[in-house]
């Protein structure tokens, strides 16, 4: 069909006698294809929506009630936030920050190894690359909270658990990102350094690192940004930090304190994003 369309438009360009009707019919034909595929996609989306509404028992009216209820909840129960508890929140907030940072360092170290093993141009053997990629894919597809739940029941409550959970899920993202950055580096430079008789470490230091550095820094800092968000919610399952405090205050119906905790999470996220942006600017 593509070929046909091409022929017709070529004829049109050559200015054959049948230009006008063929262009118009061509327009109609294309419009029909467009409408057909649009109709198909709309139908699928509608079917999915109906299936989901039926399955979850969702009432469309609850969209309005829900909005109303949450507004009432936020403005009467949570507002104004109880700012007197800020003193108690500084400790958990710092814990959240430390958890994200240590988690990032763990995932950076492990991901560097896995990334080098997974990159096509650096891997010792292609089977190792496959295995390394499978491991990172698995870790990437399982959310950090899932790791945290399993680890909380195994290791116990507290920030150590959260740190390990963050580290594990970080390996999934950074391992893949590092491997991709490594694969995109210029092979000629690698060959050049290798041709001078450099050993493996020299090749990494002189040829790979200079090209890898920018990607490495920005991906790691991006992960730190993500970690703060994750660390803030890991506490909800008992893995330390601000989320733990938030969960506790909601369970005790202290919604004004919970509001302060949410504001604190918000502030922490913004602060870390600002800082990582500054560091990124300076290094790259």
């Amino acid at each position: 069909m593509k070929q046909e369309a091409l022929n017709i438009s070529n004829q049109g360009e050559k200015g054959l006698s049948a230009t006008k009707p063929s262009k118009y019919s061509e327009y109609k034909r294309r419009r029909k294809i467009m409408l057909k595929s649009q109709g198909f996609i709309t139908a699928i989306i509608l079917l999915l929506a109906i299936w989901s509404i039926w399955g979850t028992g969702f009432n469309l009216l609850s969209l309005f009630f829900g909005t109303y209820e949450i507004l009432v909840f936020i403005f009467t129960d949570m507002f104004p936030p109880d700012l007197t508890v800020i003193g108690q929140l500084i400790g958990p907030a710092l814990d959240t920050l430390y958890m994200s940072y240590v988690g990032m360092v763990i995932s950076v170290v492990v991901s560097l190894v896995l990334g080098v093993l997974a990159a096509d141009n650096l891997t010792p053997h292609w089977t190792i690359a496959r295995v390394s990629r499978a491991v990172t894919a698995f870790l990437r597809s399982v959310p950090a909270v899932v790791w945290a739940i399993i680890l909380v029941s195994g290791i116990g409550l507290g920030p150590l658990t959260g740190t390990i959970a963050i580290g594990l899920s970080g390996i999934g993202i950074l391992g893949k990102a590092y491997a991709e950055v490594l694969e995109s580096i210029d092979g000629a430079q690698l060959e050049g350094v290798r041709a001078t008789g450099a050993n493996w470490f020299q090749v990494i230091g002189q040829a790979v690192w200079p090209q890898f550095k920018a990607g490495f820094v920005s991906w790691s800092l991006y992960k730190l940004d993500m970690n703060i968000r994750e660390a803030a919610i890991l506490g909800l399952v008992g893995a330390g930090g601000l989320g733990y405090y938030l969960q506790g205050s909601i369970n005790l119906f202290q919604y004004k304190e919970a509001a302060t905790a949410i504001l604190m999470i918000f502030a922490l996220i913004l602060m870390v994003e600002y800082m990582t942006a500054k560091i990124r600017e300076r290094i790259i």
Binding site: A5, R30, S37, Q38, W51, F58, F73, L160, L236
Partner: protein
Amino acid sequence: MIKNKETYRQQKKVQNSIFTFLAFAFFIFSMLQLNIVPERIVRSIERLGYIFGNMFPPVTNEPVSLFTAAIESIQVAILGTILGVIISLFLAVLAAKNLTISPYLGYAIKGFAGFVRAVPALIWALLFIVAVGLGPTPGILALAINSIGMLVKVYGEALEEIDMGIVEALESAGASKVQVILQGVFPSVMKAFTAWSLFRLDVNIRYSAILGVVGAGGIGWELMKAAQMSRYDEALMVTIVIFGMVMSAEVLSEYMKKRANAASAQALN
């Protein structure tokens, strides 16, 4: 010149080593603050070994309830995404600098989206549970509102980049505001919108898998149950199901994106 370059390199080197040192010092400091000492690390590695040993082989005692919980998670994600997309479409048009009816309204919507985005989905779920009760409904609403936060931003950015020539041409042909948006604006951002919406569906499936943790329906609750009873083999099974959900969502959204692109390419060339 050469000397300058040399000193510059020297400076850069000193700077880099200071950064590395600070990063390392902060790492040690954080470890100490979190009370992560070698002794605890060794103990937790032992525990990790124990958990890992008890994980295999993965089993499930209630395959049916696990399956329905997984389906429910997917349904929560789909509804959350659809609601989020529909609401974001309206809000993004009002937020985009070049289409808004008043710039102040635009700033207000962008500010709202920024706040909504910064509060994680799980916390929204927690708040909605208090407001509307347990079950999938708070999960759907939480995902919808969190999606709005992201989608308004990316839709708005796509809308601000469109070619205003098309809009002006339609306006001078006498098209109404709604006609301009439907005929001139949406077709040119369709591709970006589809890609972002599918990406969001992907993200929402990840979130919906864990919403059950706080009681908002779906497979997260099954995981919670298994973990609380220290049944690591069951927990691994649930984890594998979650992994399957997320993976298939990724594959499916990739396929849909390709199909949508192929359809528009077929119609255009």
